[in-house]
Symmetry: C2
Subunit: 395 residues, 2 copies
C-alpha cells in the first residue's frame, strides 16, 4: 500500500551512500586510519569564521521570534536584496531582490525549477554526461523525460554536435553543471558563447525558448585561475540554481537559491511558477537563521586552498603510479579512468584494499570512477600504498 516508484527510489540506496556506510563498518573492524574513504562530497574544510560569528550575533541581538519566525515563501526581503546587490557588485548581473527565490539547497533548487517549467509528460530535459545521478530522479519528479548526452571522454567538455542532435521539439531545458561533479571540469567563456549560439538557433527552430538550468553549487571552487562566469550574460534564458553547501561548507543546513533574471523570456511568469512549485512540494520557506547567515557572509568562501593542495597531491600521486586522470579545474573530485572496462569491478577490487571510490556508471559515464578529495590530506598520503597495490593488479 505504497507507491511502487517511491519504494524503488527509497530502496535503491545510491552507490555513494552504500560505499560510505561500508566504510563506517570497516573502520570499526580494521581501524579508522586504515579505511580510505573517497566516496562522499561532504566538505572537509570548515565553514568560514563568519558563519559561527553571525549565528551568535543573530542570537544575541535579535528577538527569538524574529530570528526563527517564518519568512516570506520566496525568502526574507533583506536577504534577497543583499544577494542582488552582491551579484550586481561581483558580476554586474543587473538583478533585483525579486529575481531570487531562497531554497533548501541545490537539490530543492533543481526540483522546484524543473517542476515550474515542465508542462507535459513529453517534455525533455537534456543531461550532459557525466552528471550528478539525482538529476534523473528530479526530472522524473517533475514529470518529464531525461535525454542523456553521452560523455566526451576525450576532454569532458561540452560536445555541441552531440547537443544539437539531442535537441528535439520537446526539449524544455538543458542542465549544465560547471564546475562539474564528477569530472572537475570547468566551461570556458568560449564554451558558453558557442552553447548560447546553438540554443538560440535551436530555440528559434523549435519555436519556443530552451531554458539553460545552470546548477552551480561549485561556482567559486575553481583552481589555476579557471573562470567564474555569470551565465545569463552569455545566454539570456538561463535559470541559476545555487547552494551554499560547498562554498560555505554548510551542506547539512540546506540553504541556496534560484535566480530567474529578467532576461529570461516571461521571467515573471517563470518566477511565479517557481513560487507555485515550491509551495506544492511543501517547502514553505528556506531555513530562516541560515538565510540571515548567508546575508552576513556574502562573498566569503571556505578555504579552497586546502582543496587545491589535496587536488595536486592526489592528481600527481595517481598520475605517477600510472592512473589515467582528468585534470580537475574545479569542484573537489578527481575523475579517473578504470583500468578495466567495468568500473564497478574496479571499485570492488579497490574496496578489498579499503579504498572507497565510486564507479561512475550512475553518473552516465561507465568505465570511470569518482574520487572525492574533500578529505584529510593525511588520508590521501596513507592511501597511496593501496592505490599502488591496486594498479599493480593491472600492470
Amino acid at each position: 500500500m505504497a507507491s511502487q516508484e517511491m519504494i524503488a527510489l527509497g530502496s535503491q540506496a545510491s552507490v555513494i551512500r552504500d560505499l560510505f556506510a561500508y566504510g563506517q563498518q570497516q573502520a570499526a573492524i580494521v581501524g579508522k586510519e586504515n579505511v580510505f574513504d573517497f566516496s562522499i562530497g561532504n566538505p572537509s574544510v570548515p565553514a568560514p569564521a563568519c558563519v559561527k560569528e553571525s549565528i551568535k550575533h543573530l542570537l544575541d541581538t535579535r528577538e527569538s521570534v524574529a530570528v526563527h519566525g517564518y519568512t516570506a515563501a520566496a525568502g526574507d526581503s533583506a536577504v534577497r536584496q543583499g544577494l542582488a546587490e552582491y551579484m550586481n557588485r561581483t558580476y554586474d548581473a543587473g538583478v533585483k531582490a525579486d529575481n531570487f527565490y531562497m531554497t533548501c539547497g541545490a537539490a530543492a533548487s533543481l526540483t522546484i525549477t524543473l517542476k515550474a517549467i515542465v508542462e507535459t509528460p513529453d517534455d525533455e530535459i537534456v543531461l550532459i554526461a557525466p552528471f550528478f545521478p539525482e538529476y534523473t530522479v528530479f526530472v522524473h519528479n517533475a514529470g518529464a523525460k531525461e535525454v542523456i548526452l553521452p560523455p566526451d571522454t576525450e576532454h569532458f567538455q561540452l560536445s555541441l554536435t552531440a547537443l544539437e542532435q539531442a535537441i528535439t521539439p520537446h526539449t524544455r531545458a538543458v542542465i549544465v553543471n560547471s564546475p562539474n561533479n564528477p569530472a572537475g571540469t570547468v566551461y570556458s567563456a568560449d564554451t558558453y558563447t558557442k552553447l548560447a549560439a546553438l540554443l538560440n538557433k535551436k530555440s528559434a527552430e523549435i519555436g519556443h525558448p530552451i531554458y539553460l538550468i545552470s546548477d552551480e553549487p561549485y561556482r567559486e571552487i575553481v583552481y589555476d585561475g579557471a573562470p567564474i562566469l555569470y551565465v545569463p550574460k552569455f545566454y539570456a534564458n538561463t535559470i541559476i540554481c545555487y547552494s551554499y553547501s560547498k562554498s560555505l561548507s554548510l551542506p547539512g543546513e540546506r540553504i541556496g537559491y534560484i535566480l530567474v533574471p529578467d532576461c529570461v523570456s516571461d521571467a515573471k511568469t517563470v518566477y511565479t511558477a517557481v513560487c507555485g512549485a515550491g509551495r506544492s512540494m511543501g517547502f514553505v520557506c528556506a531555513p530562516h537563521l541560515f538565510q540571515d547567515v548567508i546575508l552576513q557572509c556574502l562573498g566569503q568562501l571556505s578555504d579552497i586552498n586546502l582543496y587545491d593542495a589535496n587536488r595536486k597531491l592526489l592528481y600527481n600521486g595517481l598520475k605517477d603510479m600510472g592512473y589515467d586522470c582528468v585534470y580537475p579545474s574545479g569542484a573537489f573530485y578527481l575523475f579517473v579512468k578504470s583500468p578495466e572496462p567495468d568500473a564497478k569491478a574496479f571499485s570492488d577490487k579497490a574496496k578489498q584494499l579499503n579504498l572507497l571510490i565510486v564507479p561512475a556508471d550512475s553518473f552516465g559515464c561507465p568505465g570511470y570512477v569518482r574520487i572525492s578529495y574533500c578529505v584529510d590530506p593525511d588520508m590521501i598520503r596513507r592511501s597511496f600504498a593501496a592505490f599502488k597495490q591496486l594498479i599493480q593488479q593491472y600492470q
Copy 2:
C-alpha cells in the same frame, strides 16, 4: 513556457498572506499600533532558552564540519534514537530510531507522506473541514484527489456518519489535525476509539488499509487539561507528521519528522517509500544544526501560558460583545461565526477597521473567520474597540 498549474499556485497568494501584507502596508500609513493583525499563525512566544543555549553549545564544542555536514537522508541516527527514547518515555510508544524520518517541517512531512502512499490518480485522501488550506495543494502534488468532509458546525468535532459516507474503495488515507487549525478543537480518546473502529471496519470492507495521517504541529499546545494522545495506540495504521514550528517556536527553521510505527501494516515498505518520496522532491536531509537542537531540547515547550492568557482574553472579550465563538481547547486560533453568511464580506468590513481576520472559506468552512491569537496581548486589548464597532454594524 511554464507549468500552468504551478503558475496558478504561485499567483494565488493565500488569503492569509494577502491580509498579512495589507497589514504591513497599513502599519506604515496609520501606525503599527493601530493595525490589529490576527492573520498569521506565527508563534509570538519565544523559543525556550535551551534553543539558544544548545546552538551556542554545539558551535563551541563541535567541529564545523560535524555541525553543518550532511546527515543521513532519514536524519542523524543519534537524533532519531533520542526521539524514539523520548516518545517511549512519554507515550509508551514502543518505537525505534528507524521509525523516524526527519523532515523540513510539517508541510514537508505531509507532502512526503502523501507522495509515499499514493499509487494511482484515483486514490482519494479524506480531509475533514475545517482544515489547513494547503492540504489540497499537497494532495494534488501527490497526484491524488481530495474528498472533503463538510464541517460539523455544531461542535467542530468529527462526524463519524459523514466520514463513513465519504470512504470509498479508492480511499487511501484520512488526514486528522488535532488540536485543529483553524477551529482550536481537540479530539478525545473516545473520538479516536470510535474513529479506529470505523476505519478498521471500512478497511476490511474495501480490502486494504486506510491510513490515518495525524498532522500534529499543535500536539502539546492544549489548555484546561485537554488530552495529548499517541494516536497509533488507538489506530494501528497511523502515520504521524510532526513539526517543531509551534512547540519550540521555530517555524522558520523547518524542522519536524514523520513517524511510521511498526504497527502500520507493511511499515517497512511504507517507510522505504517515505525515503523515496523525500529523495524525489530533493529534500536531501533535514537542517542539521536544528536536528541536534531538537535532540538537546526534547520535552521542552514554549511558554504556552502566554497563549492561554490570550485565549481567555480574546474569547471572553468577543463573547461579551455578542460574537459566536468556538471555545478553543488547543492550538492558538479562535474560530468565530461571521454575523453575515459571507465571511469574506465580514472580513472586508473588519479590514476597514484595520482588523485583520481570515475568512475560513479556503479552510472548507464558509461563514466563519479564523482569529490567530499568537499575538501581543496589548494588541488584543487595543483591538476590542474595533471588534465592538464591527459587531455593532450587525446589531
